[in-house]
Amino acid sequence: MIASLPRAAWLRTATALYVAAFLIFLFVPLVIVATFAFNDAPYPAPPWRGFTLDWFTGNPASGRVGLFHDVALLGSNWTSVVVACWVTALSVAVGTANAFLMERYRFFCKGALSVLMLAPLVIPGVILGISILSLSSRIADLALAWFDVELDFLRPGLPLVVLGQFAYIATIATLMISARLKRFDRTLEEAALNLGASHAAVLYKVTFPYLRPALIGSAAISFLMSFENFNTTLMLVGADPPLTVMMYGRMREGATPVLNAVSLFLMLASALLALTLMRGGTRSAPGSPAAGA
């Protein structure tokens, strides 16, 4: 029942209990991950054996390799950052162009193009990955057979990971930037033009400042989604895995709490990003982050 109607006492209690249970369900896995980053034991499992910072600072000599000395893990983290930067730059640039295209121009088959732009959201990430893998391998094979050149960037590796992630993150950037451009009052641009501003000046001084929140928001979301992407990345990855793929590999083997340590940093980073964006944006703005897509 809604707040303005009388509610029975049992219903109030039940509601409160339900919300509490729901929040426990949401947060228990995260709290557990964070807690066991500090457990003085070789595996992230109970019982609690005391507090230690070994899984952050331990060096190979002490027998426990902490996060700050785990070269492979730090390297894969850096790989993820580099990939995410490329994906962000590409997605925001193409997303901005798409927003202007869809909001300002009319052309042949515009409706079909707008549906096609949304298609990446309904393609499972695994299939997006294998389809790009199969096309790029075919092109690389043909190049080798016809021109005798080896196109390494078309073989599984970071360039393909960037393209695969960009393929669907571009849709999200497009939607976010279009949504803001749609609400823009075009009389502002006309006023500036009447007052003698050039088209470039209008774009630079009027339109882009207005779009800024959407550009920043979509950049942050693109970065986060790229950093956390797993499905598409797994299909396209080559010799140097990004962080999610490396963590997955170690989780299958039964990893040390160093994974908890790196997870703790990831949680802090995304919480910080989330709070910053939520403060800036409205409730519905950055709605859907991390997905399996």
Partner: protein, 294 residues
């Protein structure tokens, strides 16, 4: 005057071309052509080394090998079940956020619900692994409470996979539900209540019909993501997960049988797309609107 006009038209055409180029490049090079290639791949079979001929044998294998289609059906059913469970768990929360909690409490609750989903799925799954495995937190708790004598293995069950999938999907249900419940006018509920309608009747006759677009949008997105999920089923289900995406991965990356993997990929894509289309048809919505909503 005429010259200036024609120059402006020319400029606008040039701009249109410049803006169309990246969009077309993106959509054709990374979406359309790869899928055409994947389709071609799935419709061929190797007759001799480096020789291929058109064939339906990949699809034939799928239908004649019981293991393959059983895993396909299993994945679809578990995804549907996960979707329903997600809806049942998310609906009361969306209701509390929009209709029961007031002002700041409502905003705060909403933000608190969102925060876990900004964290990578890998991290959340790690949490479930530590909680549920035989040497994990929950089995130890059960022993110390005297409920079980020995630590039990809570991983590798269907229920474990479902728990993980529901957990990952909640956000994608809560957000569209909130969107559709927010627009429901409270006075309608008050009026129904004053006229003597019971709680279940109000839910059935007023709330659900109004929230139907949000419910459909949430269900479509959750089903799609669950069906295509790889990380959660493989880690929480282990060897018992038998998830269809795992089959695709095995064919493509482990066995290097790309033709078979492509066929499996297309079957999954067909299921996913037809469920989206069905959902849209049932609720009479447009694809574009649903995607904007979620």
């Amino acid at each position: 005057m005429n010259d200036a006009l024609s120059q402006r038209i020319w400029q606008r055409r040039l701009m249109l071309t410049l803006l169309l180029a990246p969009a077309l490049l993106w959509l054709f090079a990374l979406i359309v052509l790869p899928h055409i290639d994947l389709a071609l791949l799935s419709f061929r079979a190797r007759s001799a080394p480096r020789h291929y001929q058109p064939s339906l044998s990949q699809y034939d294998t799928f239908f004649t090998e019981p293991l393959y289609w059983q895993i396909f059906v299993r994945t679809a059913l578990l995804s549907a079940l996960a979707t329903v469970l997600t809806l049942l768990i998310a609906f009361p929360i969306a209701w509390v956020i929009t209709k029961v909690a007031q002002g700041r409490a409502s905003t705060l609750l909403f933000m608190v619900c969102l925060i876990p989903f900004w964290v990578s799925e890998t991290v959340r799954t790690l949490g479930w692994l530590i909680l549920l495995r035989q040497s994990g937190v929950l089995p130890a708790l059960l022993v110390s409470l005297g409920i079980t004598a020995q630590p039990v293995e809570l991983l590798y069950h269907n229920a474990t996979i479902l728990t993980g999938l529901v957990y990952t999907s909640l956000l994608f249900m809560v957000v569209p539900l909130i969107g559709s419940l927010e627009s429901l006018d409270n006075s309608l509920i008050e009026a129904a209540y004053d006229l003597g309608a019971s709680g279940p009747a109000i839910l059935r006759k007023i709330v659900v019909p109004h929230a139907a677009p949000g419910i459909t949008a949430g269900c479509i997105v959750v089903f799609m993501l669950t069906l295509g999920n790889y990380l959660t089923p493989t880690l929480l289900g282990g060897k018992n997960s038998q998830w269809f995406t795992e089959l695709i991965y095995t064919q493509f990356i482990v066995r290097f049988n790309w033709e078979q993997g492509a066929a499996f990929g297309f079957l999954l894509l067909a299921l996913s797309t037809s469920m989206v289309a069905l959902g849209l048809r049932v609720s009479g919505q447009r694809f574009v609107d649903v995607m904007r909503r979620s």
